[in-house]
């Protein structure tokens, strides 16, 4: 099972974790990404996440499937939020369960690293002093997808 979703509403990490797990699984890993209160020493009040929604849906699903296939982690769930988030809000939750801990940690790490380099999502920080700015990101390469879509 590989579940993925891009959502506007708040993420409940406990519910994401509850989607994975099985009798034969001795390990479960939950990763949460949280909006932090500073960027390069500048106090942050919140972040607006923009997404190319139909593509982000597809890319997130592909990342989840790849993680499952690569690490043999049986059950994996990833939920990414977009819209206006405040400091302390969960922006992403990744839950993986597997027979043993190594696959669960590795699959979880794979998902968050691939999100950082491929998911068409952008964030604009709002600063306490009133300014705002797009966060410098990673340039995805064409190799991140396989050629022309249809």
């Amino acid at each position: 099972m590989a579940y993925s979703a891009l959502v506007r509403e708040p993420i409940d990490p406990g519910r994401v974790l509850a989607m994975v797990g099985a009798g034969a699984h001795g390990a479960g890993v939950l990763f949460v990404g949280v909006v932090r209160d500073h960027a390069d020493g500048r106090p942050v009040s919140g972040i607006r996440y923009d997404a190319y929604e139909p593509m982000a849906d597809e890319v997130l699903a592909a990342i989840a499937r790849e993680a499952r296939a690569r690490f043999g982690s049986d059950r994996l769930a990833v939920v990414h939020r977009f819209g206006d988030l405040r400091v302390g809000d969960v922006s992403v939750a990744i839950a993986v369960s597997s027979a043993h801990r190594v696959e669960a940690f590795e699959a979880s790490r794979y998902v968050i690293e691939e999100i950082k380099t491929r998911l068409p999502v952008w964030k604009k920080e709002r600063y306490l002093d009133g300014g705002e700015g797009w966060v410098d990101g990673a340039a995805p390469t064409a190799a991140a997808g396989e050629g022309r879509g249809r």
């Binding site: 923009d50 593509m55 922006s91 068409p120 966060v135 990673a138 390469t141 064409a142 997808g145 879509g149």
Partner: protein, 83 residues
Amino acid sequence: MPIVVRTLFFAAYRDLLGRAALDVELPEGATVGELVVEVRGWGHPFADLPERPAIAVNRRYASPEVELGAGDEVAFLPPVAGG
């Protein structure tokens, strides 16, 4: 016969151009790279787009040599920052 593609601009590119989408007419057989050259050739503010932005064609990342077809959805994607 010329073709028309739908270009989309996100995040910093949308702010730069002041628009989210635009239809662009191109010669038949035009590539992603040729579309970028065409759009950047319109002068300010389009010339401020990077020479080799990340591009997705119909929601998949595409390299500059990919050929475009009528009605394709071509997205200009700034460096991504999810997570």
